[in-house]
């Protein structure tokens, strides 16, 4: 793709996926000087014009975002009857989309928090980027419960606040747990993301020309100077935020799963739900990070920072999580059979042989089978294989949320209350529109924010290592 940005700068895109004993893998292919790393990231935001593909993608995203706004406004003014929600499928698309988007968010936190604690140096190339997907996915997720309540102007009733309506919060209710978990997740991921970005915003500030850019980046970078005292505090704060965010990665989807697990519905009332939701969430997150990284490194000429090794590692992690998801799918069938409970057994037979059988097999195929291709190096490293697999994984995870939320509910205990769920075009349009919101935010981020954590990448360059660090085994 020849673009305004990539033209003067030809990434080497070397293959750095091999492992050599006793040698650290090369994580920055191409010129690995401080200046070159800075240039590669900053010129994306400094170029007077974005690549043409960016404008095309932005136009599509904005169109979908407009659709999202119009359909939500229509639903609010007309009532939630415009959706396919019915009795017994009260939750419908909004809650499917909510659980889906919360899940998508998880990979960013996993990469920047858990991999930081495990000292995985390769995370520095993609953590910023992945954290951005976290923040934007949580934004998308947060909208759905708010519109699902039907009267979004009263959505604050979810929160326990003193009121004169004699309305007391029920702290045993998973809906309140959800509000706490997702609200916390949104706040903490924004704080973590922004804190990580401050030194890089300072880099942009110091390189900026003109009148507006230095002022804007100057305000956003809070006057960061990169002094040893500041770095000392900053690193401690980053580790602490990582520890807190790690707890959240494991906690948020677990809490979301209690919306279902705490109820009595067959195939919902299961103790496996918290790890099940969390594994699926991180899995879908890796898939979307992979699906976004492949075009973004190409489009913005970042192949030397988001290298083949990064894609390879992401695919391996997607394989690991995908295998966990497959294991949980299979163990759920075993548990249903072993429980001897006729309703539980029926629920799982209904997954695969009921009216939504194609979704039941679809999730086994997309999440269970397709990701197994990543066992092969060829599949991990060929973009035209890895990218469709990642997209199928994301689709599979959305279908999984559909199966859990709709298919369990539409045929529970009493056949007299069975009812099919059929989404309306407004449901489908709102789902598509939420992708518009996500991609609009993501494209703006790519254009105006440092897409790779420049200071963190510099810190892992060979020339940045001091003897002190080597002597103490610290990196």
């Amino acid at each position: 793709m020849t673009t305004a940005i990539t033209a003067p700068f030809a990434p080497t895109d070397l293959d750095n996926t091999g492992d050599e004993l006793l040698r650290e893998p090369v994580l920055v292919t191409g010129p690995a000087t401080y200046q070159a790393v800075t240039d590669q990231v900053c010129r994306v935001t400094e170029a007077p014009r974005a690549p043409r593909a960016w404008y095309v993608a932005m136009a599509i995203s904005l169109a979908l975002l407009l659709l999202f706004g119009v359909l939500i406004t229509y639903a609010i003014f007309t009532g939630v009857g415009v959706w396919g929600n019915n009795s017994p499928s009260f939750w419908g698309f909004p809650i499917i989309n909510f659980v889906f988007w919360v899940g998508i968010a998880h990979a960013g936190t996993f990469i920047s928090a858990i991999l930081l604690l495990f000292r995985q140096k390769w995370r520095t190339g993609i953590n910023r980027f992945a954290e951005a997907t976290t923040v934007f996915a949580v934004v998308c997720a947060g909208i759905f419960p708010a519109i699902h309540v039907g009267r979004p102007w009263l959505a604050y009733w979810l929160l326990p606040y003193p009121n004169i309506m004699g309305d007391w919060p029920n702290f045993f209710s998973p809906l309140l747990w959800d509000a706490c978990a997702v609200g916390t997740y949104a706040t903490v991921s924004i704080l973590f993301w922004y804190t990580g970005m401050v030194p890089d915003l300072a880099t942009l500030r110091d390189r900026a020309t003109g009148r507006i850019k230095p002022a804007v980046y100057g305000l956003l970078s809070l006057g960061w100077r990169g002094s040893a005292r500041q770095w000392h505090l900053y690193e401690r704060a980053n580790i602490i935020l990582a520890v807190l965010a790690t707890a959240l990665v494991l906690g948020v989807s677990s809490t979301v799963s209690t919306d279902m697990a705490v109820s009595q519905i067959p195939a919902w009332h299961e103790t496996i739900f918290p790890p099940y939701f969390t594994a699926g969430a991180i899995y879908s997150g890796f898939a979307i990070v992979l699906a976004l990284a492949i075009p973004a490194r190409e489009l913005f000429g970042l192949k030397d920072l988001i290298t083949k090794r990064h894609l390879d590692n992401l695919a391996k992690l997607a394989l690991l999580l995908g295998s966990m998801v497959l294991y949980i799918y299979l163990i759920e069938f075993v548990i249903a059979w072993y429980s001897g409970d006729p309703y539980e057994r029926f629920a799982y037979l209904n997954y695969e042989f009921g009216p939504y059988w194609w979704l039941g097999w679809g999730i086994l195929f997309c999440n269970g089978v397709v990701a197994q291709a990543f066992w092969f190096k060829f599949a991990r490293q060929t973009w035209w294989i890895a990218w469709p697999i990642a997209v199928l994984c994301v689709m599979g995870m959305w279908m999984e949320r559909f199966v859990i939320i709709i298919v369990s509910m539409h045929r529970s205990f009493l056949p007299s209350s069975w009812h099919m769920f059929v989404p309306t075009w407004i449901d489908i349009g709102t789902l598509a529109g939420s992708f518009g919101l996500f991609f609009t935010l993501f494209l703006l981020f790519c254009r105006y924010c440092p897409m790779v954590a420049v200071s963190e990448v510099k810190a892992i360059l060979p020339q940045a290592q001091t003897r002190d660090a080597l002597a103490n085994g610290r990196h």
Partner: protein
């Protein structure tokens, strides 16, 4: 910082303003590390190092004290946990007790799903606020931003500053020390 003490009268013809201090550039992190150890041993107090990324071992070379930040975080996280449990207990067990699905009014496990995220929320917000407060940020300006050279501190520059208010500061002697430690360039930074 020393700004408040050094504000120069804007009257025309006033004496040469007191500088902020000396800014010295070093070629690489290793040189910065060696210089930091030497400057500390020379007895300087009001000085700092600047780099585009955190350099490990620098805080030890400078003998920086361990930050008190974790204690703030602990306080915040504890407050969040306690507040969540207290509100839950007050609402559901004390002020307006209701039986939900035949369970006791109060039970710790049932309240963990609220106490856990609130612990994290308060801890993280405290970390964020305490980080910037302790780092002396945000601020709109700093004397170092007068230096064109210092703009490279966020790209590939490794700097040491020694403030003019330091008791050991002496323009000639300090410059000489910095040169001897391998500084590529030494310049005086004005204060306003």
């Amino acid at each position: 910082m020393a700004m408040s003490q050094n504000i120069i009268s804007p009257v025309a013809g006033a004496a040469e303003p007191t500088p902020y201090g000396l800014l010295a550039e070093f070629p690489d992190p290793q040189a910065l590390l060696r210089a930091a150890a030497a400057i500390r041993q020379a007895g300087y107090r009001r000085w700092d190092c600047y780099s585009p990324f955190p350099i490990h071992g620098l805080d030890r070379a400078m003998r920086l004290k361990r930050s008190v930040l974790p204690w703030f975080v602990f306080g915040g996280a504890f407050t969040g946990c306690f507040a969540a449990l207290a509100v839950a207990w007050f609402c559901n067990a004390y002020a307006y007790p209701l039986i939900f699905s035949g369970k006791p009014y109060w039970g710790l496990p049932a309240n963990i799903p609220v106490a856990f995220p609130l612990t994290i929320l308060f801890g993280a917000v405290t970390t964020f606020l305490a980080l910037w407060a302790l780092a002396g940020l945000p601020r709109l300006h700093h004397p170092l931003f007068f230096s064109a050279r210092f703009r490279r501190a966020t790209t590939d520059g490794f700097f040491v500053t020694i403030e003019a208010t330091d008791p050991c500061y002496d323009l000639a002697a300090t410059t000489q020390l910095l040169r001897r430690l391998g500084a590529q360039a030494v310049e005086v930074v004005k204060d306003c």
